[in-house]
Symmetry: C2
Subunit: 436 residues, 2 copies
Amino acid sequence: METASDILVKKYGGTSVGSIERIESLADRLAKEIRAGQKPIIVVSAMSGETNRLIAMAEKIDPDHRGAAYDMLIASGEQVSIALLAIALQKRGIKAQPLLAYQLGIRTDATASKARIHSIDVEPLLHLVAQDIVPVVAGFQGVDDEKNITTLGRGGSDTTAVALAAALAAHAGSSSQTCEIYTDVPAVFTADPRLVSRAREIPSLSCEEMMEMAALGSKVLHIRCVEIAAKYRVKIHLRSTFEEREGTWILPEELGEMKPMNGKNVNSKFEPKVNIKIEQPVVSAVTHDANTAVFNLFPVPRGSTFLAELFDNLAKRGVVVDIITQSESADGQRLSFSVTKEDIPLSRLALKEFMADPAHVTLIENMAKISVVGVGMRNHPGVAARFFAVLARKNVPIQIVTTSEIKISAVIDQSRIKEAAEALHSEFGLDANDAS
Amino acid sequence: METASDILVKKYGGTSVGSIERIESLADRLAKEIRAGQKPIIVVSAMSGETNRLIAMAEKIDPDHRGAAYDMLIASGEQVSIALLAIALQKRGIKAQPLLAYQLGIRTDATASKARIHSIDVEPLLHLVAQDIVPVVAGFQGVDDEKNITTLGRGGSDTTAVALAAALAAHAGSSSQTCEIYTDVPAVFTADPRLVSRAREIPSLSCEEMMEMAALGSKVLHIRCVEIAAKYRVKIHLRSTFEEREGTWILPEELGEMKPMNGKNVNSKFEPKVNIKIEQPVVSAVTHDANTAVFNLFPVPRGSTFLAELFDNLAKRGVVVDIITQSESADGQRLSFSVTKEDIPLSRLALKEFMADPAHVTLIENMAKISVVGVGMRNHPGVAARFFAVLARKNVPIQIVTTSEIKISAVIDQSRIKEAAEALHSEFGLDANDAS
């Protein structure tokens, strides 16, 4: 039987399987690698556009619906793509088996649309690999204790892949497992290249930085997948489906010192760059999230339990509140919090229960969050001051602000986002023609 | 806890859920019935066109592919439709839960694309109904012993519905259970009304007649669903999704004598017509199947095991051979058999192994089977003579012929089918303005 460390988890996003033609060319590439000796476990997203098509149908019936039926609906997208990829591999003489979450025992909690993985049984996978059968696993989905299908939320297929790699590493008692995430971008960039023309590729990043970037709107990787990678020391190699070259390595911090691997896996010519240094740039990347809305509550009802109860209610509805700011003035308490656009309807339902007077609630839509991230910020005071100075110079009003040890974020108007990103990218020396 | 006999199995075909608008209006109607006290178990097909869309994608990759991946692919259509209908019911305040085959334990054998149901566990369904939760069950699919998704072949959702009704009856130890099958036609007709303008609705039929009609190309009900109905004495009420009135009752023969039921179920104002009589018309219906192809083999290799081995090989590939005729002449043995158009590629593969010289195999495509069916034929000799006389009068050449106790079929050219059907319909007194 193969040991888990011989196995490479490879995840392909929606654009990689976005049409029959793309599925065929992916199958060509995989068949070549498998014939060359690679033992992959393949994780696949839904064909691009498919999840949105399914969501649109559900929303036509009931815009606010979330629950088991909704999750069953949108999980069907991955069922289609893994079946098609398995058929394409079989056509090429590769034994391949498509696998759904219930078959693999990808167990999650029962939170609809944002479930968290509890456990994965890797034995069936190892059993298939031992018989030279390539498992093609449906990303994004799990099953709860009642055997209902759950889904893992945005970027859920990345989470499936990294969780699988983590489970394989744990099973093998190995120090580390690589998970390749193939996508339509070749690497992680210092900023979104569509927004900031001088954005550059980042060869390697710490999980911590990547988590902040994900939390701050970088669409490249989902924050939960990086959390799992950090916790279980999975090395993520993010790279392009359409180019052969290396992309960005996202490494658990302690792996910065790691020796190159023994090269057993065809694609893991792994020479990690030591990326946690004093010479590290102060800021590694500028990120943004255009999908933000802010609720302002004023005046907030008196009572010590109000905030706790409100945010508990929001959490129970599955609303992820991002930034929270609160201030006290002579005329009353003021509360602002930001959520993603998708969570506006559920947030409104919660607020209806807590704010008797609707006039005391203001929703500001079409906002965006702009952030700078970098582990180097730990050792460099004054980054916040430079951040605010840049926005002030550009006359960009800030709605709310939040900071952590390695990032600063501001919610600003969506229309100002490009201007702000370009200015911050220059200010912190990230532009492509700057010394790096 | 509800007893099974309070429960009505209701199956809705692809056109009933063919768009979001139709799903909404179906949900309106169901919600009304449920509020009036009905306790349904709902079985749903894929949205019309969806299964064909999925098949087209698979065939683009590999036209000959059949297997677990293919079944997983096409089973996703029902996953979508049950989820959407459940969402629509929930929107209307009805507690509804979509259920896939693996959740219900609809166990089948492992024959890809044509699996047969072994068992259904009705306990989870009864448990839901007892909590006033309406089960919305995916038709067409099952799971094999390895937990792989299987599909039941054409008309598989009807089979799911009738098998569920049979399992409920067995569980309750009740003498009989009704299964309503809602479709886009209002009833079973004496012939396809698109082909024969004077075709009439049939108020009730025996299972035996319906089985012959299904075997002979009537698309209204799948033969296996009627087999199960006959075996487990399930009463099928075939009716229109879009009209309120009764359609056609398909009744196990011994139920011809049954007393009307106690009317517990809202929709079962059941007064079966005694339909097995001497006064029965000789022929009940004219059916056709335009989807036929004929292989002619000449000369057939000598050897007593040839036929057995050939048809065994075809069966193992999942090819359903319909009519077989064989004749001996001075220059050799001649064999003809008919299959559906879909099974042509698999039949060719089998023939390649058995017929060394491809020139000895002729495929005749674009054929159709025309048949007359009626339990009355048992008591009336000479039906075959009249059947052949009609076709001869019309100069319709017959490729192959088969007869049974209650039917006669001939394979003729597709282009002659309308003419032949009209003539036979008149000949046997089925036209709408004839006395009935």
